[in-house]
Each structure stands twice: as C-alpha cells, then as structure tokens.
Symmetry: C2
Subunit: 345 residues, 2 copies
C-alpha cells in the first residue's frame, strides 16, 4: 500500500491558550486541510524527560509543538508556523508585545515575535507569535488570542456580500473571559472583559452554591432564562454579588430543582453581563452591528440574553481563529495572498 500523497499545505497555524492547543494545516487558499486538538495548554504542558545526556533538552513547549505539528513539518520543512494566544504571555514560550488600542488590525500582522526553536536543531522552523492588545485608557484591559478572532471576523465581514467595513461593529467573544470588542474601519477602538465563564466555574466548583447542585440530564434553558431575567429585574438591582445567593435560596424554598441550579446560575451571570453591556450601548445611542463568535452552545445562551435585553439577534461568525491566523500570516508576508476568488471559497 502506498499512502496517498497529502495535499500540499501553505501554513501551520496554532491557537495556543491556557488550557488547550489547536493546530491547523492550511492550504494556499487558507482552507483547512487538517485540525488537531491537544490538551497541552501553556499551564499544562507535557513533562520533559529528565535526561542528563541531552545537550539542549526539549522543553514542554518543544514537546507540545512537536506533537501538534512535528510530522507536518517533517513532510514539508519549509512551511511557516504562526501562533496566537497565551503562548505569547509572560508565562508562555516567549513574551510577545502588546499593541496599544486603538490599533489598525493589519498592523498586528507586521509585528510578530519570532521564537527560534534551538532545541529542535539548527535549521528548525521558527514560530511566529501574534501580539496581544492592551487598552490603557480608563481601567486597563488586555487580550491575547481574541485579537486574532477579531481579525478573522473583520476580514470575512469585509468580504461578505452585504458588508460595510466602515460600520461600527461590536464583536462578542464569549468564554472563560468574555471580550466585547468595538471595531470600525478595520481598527479596534475599545474593548471590555467580563470574567463570566471563570466566575461561573469557581462558584459552581468551590462555593456553597455548588453543594446543592446536581448534574442535569440536559440543559434546562427555562432555568437559564429565569436567571437572565432576574439580572435586570427590580429583584436583581442589588447586583450579581447578591443575586447569585438566590440559586441556593430558591433551592431551599423548593422553587428550583437541584438539577436546574447550574443553568439558573449561568443565566444570572450571563444576564448581568449582557444587562450591563446593553445599558452601556443604549447610553451611547445607536446600536452597532453585533457579531458573536464562540462555542455554539454558549453563543445560543448569549443570544437568549441579548434578545431579552433589547440587543436583537446578532450575526454569528465561524472559524474566526483559523481565518484570523491565515490573514495575519498574509499580512506578515509568511504566505502569499491568494486570489480573492479562492479566499472567499
């Protein structure tokens, strides 16, 4: 048996965060040929072997990198490699810059940090890390990885048939730390962070609220919506530090089953996030176009909350990270820009 010749690739793109690592092999039109999902986030890398004989021992980063794309590089050694996310943080492989907001998105691609992988040999392909963004006005704010998703969303927006690249766009990236990013004319102008996902996880895992919860056989969207509504109701005016306690109290009064409490809490937290966002947006006047990008089940929850708080139904973007990494690599000159007809395929 002769193995099939693999399709020729043009770029290896890594989405390397705190808890996981995704690797993409992309062709010369930016189309995804292969995807891998590994558990090697920067906070839980594979352990290097304690081998005193090795002159340049491989780090956990080297090992994770090799598992993610070593075989792809051995098959095509000249492929460039680009990465975004916490791999560029102070706790990452090498610290990449933060660019100050407001910033033109295309500028991001010209300021990649190059990591020479000496431990992998003298001619090892280097890794190019995308910079993060920092906002210094008001309360400071930072992102690493989400700038690439924003790039992916914005690029595809400007290629869409009804796109208005000059419009105000608000891009929502729900997750462990939700980001809401304002962009206009290819420029990121402002962003906010909400620690909603991480707060949910610790309230459920490490406080008294988790003690009365039990696993539900399926998501209880009615309990979720109930929480969403409380966040903006008169009963919720004391704020999230107060309303979360009702998860327990409603259980004690027999008004909320143990299997519904996690979804109710999720609704409260996402509800407080979206109620605050809606208040800020309505104060500013006209609503921007809103594009949501993230895990589909989580986006569905955000859409319920956005509809409840008068933000309408957002557009949804797919595959923003790999689209963003591809177009950043084009901006950086790591790959040649494809003809538009291919890119829009």
């Amino acid at each position: 048996m002769t193995p099939a010749t693999p399709a020729r690739a043009a770029l290896i793109a890594l989405d390397w965060g705190t808890s996981s690592l995704r690797a993409y092999r992309l062709d010369n039109a930016g189309r995804t040929l292969d995807t891998r999902h590994l558990p090697w986030g920067i906070m839980r890398l594979p352990q290097p072997l304690q081998d005193g004989a090795a002159s340049t021992p491989l780090s956990g980063f080297d090992l994770a990198f090799d598992q993610a794309c070593g075989d792809w590089l051995r098959a095509e050694p000249t492929l460039p490699v680009i990465a975004c996310g916490m791999v560029g943080s102070a706790q990452g492989w090498q610290e990449a810059a933060y660019l100050d907001v407001p910033v033109d998105l295309e500028r991001i691609g010209t300021l990649l940090t190059v990591v020479e992988r000496h431990a992998a040999g003298p001619n090892a392909t280097p890794l190019h890390i995308v910079p993060g963004l920092i906002q210094r006005h008001g309360l400071p704010n930072v992102m690493r990885g989400e700038e690439t998703q924003v790039f992916g969303v914005m690029f595809d927006q400007t290629r869409g048939s009804d796109a208005h690249p000059a419009d105000n766009v608000l891009i929502g990236l729900p997750g462990t730390h939700s980001k809401w990013v304002n962009a206009r004319r290819g420029r990121v102008t402002h962003f906010d962070t909400f620690m909603t996902g991480e707060v949910y996880a610790v309230l459920r895992g490490h406080t008294i609220l988790g003690r009365t919860m039990s696993e539900a056989p399926a998501p209880d969207m009615a309990a979720f919506e109930r929480g969403v509504k409380v966040a903006g109701a008169p009963a919720g005016r004391a704020g999230v530090l107060s309303t979360i306690f009702s998860t327990r109290a409603l259980g004690l009064t027999g008004e909320l089953a143990s299997t519904s409490q996690a979804d109710y809490l999720s609704g409260l937290l996402i509800g407080h996030e979206i109620a605050a966002l809606a208040r800020m947006l309505h104060e500013q006047g006209e609503l921007p176009r809103i594009v949501l990008c993230g895990d589909p089940a989580l986006c569905e929850r955000y859409i319920v909350a956005m509809q409840h708080y008068g933000l309408g139904t957002p557009e949804q973007a797919q595959n923003a990270t790999e689209r963003g990494l591809w177009h950043l690599a084009v901006c950086a000159g790591l790959v040649k820009a494809p003809p538009l007809t291919s890119a829009s395929a």
Copy 2:
C-alpha cells in the same frame, strides 16, 4: 492544691457555623465567664471512632459538643444549652425551622428546636437550636445565625441611653455572606445577602487573579480604597464581573504591585456591594440608622466604603452573638430574666 471554685454559670451558648464553633459560659446576668473557639464547624467535625462495641456511637456533633462544653456540663449538669447557626441547617445536627420575615424578634426565642442527645446518656442535657429566617417576597433569602446577632444588636439598642427602638435600623453583618437586615420596632422587615466574602476567597484562591498576587507584609488600605472608588466610577459601570479583571490588567501594566492586588480586589468587591446598597437606600429616601457588627478589621473596610458612598459612619456593635443567645434564652424561658441593672452592666 484545691482548684478555685468556678463562678456559677446560668447558660451555655454555642455559635456553631459552617467552619467553626464558639462556646460561651454565661452567668446569671448574661456576662461571659469563659469563651472557647474550636475548629469544629458543621462541615469539618471531628471523626467518630469506629468502635463496633458501642451500642449508641457518638457522632461528630456529639464529639464536638463534648469538646466545646462537656466539662462545663459535668460541673453544673442543670445548665441549659442554646445554639445558633448552621448547626440547625439540613446539613446540621438537626434541622431547625425557618421563620418567615417579617417577624417579631421576640418570637424567635419561643420556637427553639430541641435536640435530645441520646448518645450521651439518658439524662443528657438537650440542645436548643435557634430558628433561621426566610424571606419569600421578591427573590427568596435565608439566614441562620445572623438572626441571633440582630437580636443581640437590637436588644442592646433598646437598652442604650439614646436608643430609639421605633426607628428604622439597618444592621450590617459583613462576612463570608454579608447580610443587611432592616428592623423596626423589634421586627425584622427585610434583608439582603451579598456573597462578597466567599467570592473574594474563590477569586483569590481559584482564578487567574490569584496567580499574580503575592502576600503583603501589611494591609494596603490605599489599594483597597482605589478598588472601592472604581466600583462606583464610570470605569466601573460594566459591573463587578468586568472590573475584577482590572486586578490582573493593572498588574500587567505595572500600575498595581503584586502585593497590593488582593487588597485592591477586596476594595472592588466591597465597593460594588456598598455602591449597590447605597443606591437602594438613596432610592428609598431617608437613610436609616446603620449599625455594623462583625470582625473589626473587616468592619473598618466596610466603613471606608460606606463613607465613600455617602452612608456616613455607622455605629458598631460588640459581642452581638453572645448577647443575642443570652436574650433568646431569656425569651425562651431557659434562664430567668435578670434585673435590668445587671443586664446593662
């Protein structure tokens, strides 16, 4: 050597919560003769011996009880014993009732739950557990233990030289779960819960915010005040799920030392609690008298926040739990009411 005859007691009072147990031996004027502090909260009781021979094995509750006051009872076997707190919860020794708010405080003392301690022998002194309070209007709310502190504060208020028992009083009980209790004419009319203390502990112990914090040699009250102010400033309008991320971001921008981040986060959380409370109070019109009761260092932080948000400087109450347990025991007929002159000593 003859041991000194111990002063005669009239009551044993237990403040028995989730994480600790305090025992008080009180004389016939309600004065404290002895105090003990044990780590035997209801969620971490001593382990019973696995002794197959015992016909009625002692539970963790029995063992903790014996360590708290067994010798006091052996010296004076007729002493009544009263307890408040989570010992009366579904996870406690025996579930005590919840009384519906609004409720007259004196009624609390007439509805104690009696726990017969069969494992300790046929004539063992029973334990009397104080009921909790439940509020069913709006979002439901519950307390166990704080009703006793409120009783202690209110009783001493009505005995004070400038007391106005008919006044509206707002009693603040900062802690793991802060309670703010409205009382009028000896009647609890409403209360709110904020999970501020527990949220602080899990954000510090289990989220990315804790990773950049380091121990401070002393409290950094300037960092605390900075957090308090952010909570009510335009920069804080996105709410606490958003502002807490600035703890990390200010560290990354070099504007907040690692040793100051915990106090800044404490300021943010207490600031959001007090800002919400102040908004609700100002909407209601005239401010009530406010009495604060709790750990002195924590109360100091709350006072800074209350001054910042226009609530003035509250009165402070001392020893509210033991005062409350004493007066509840009087209401319940467990001990005889002392002459007023002694009680006010």
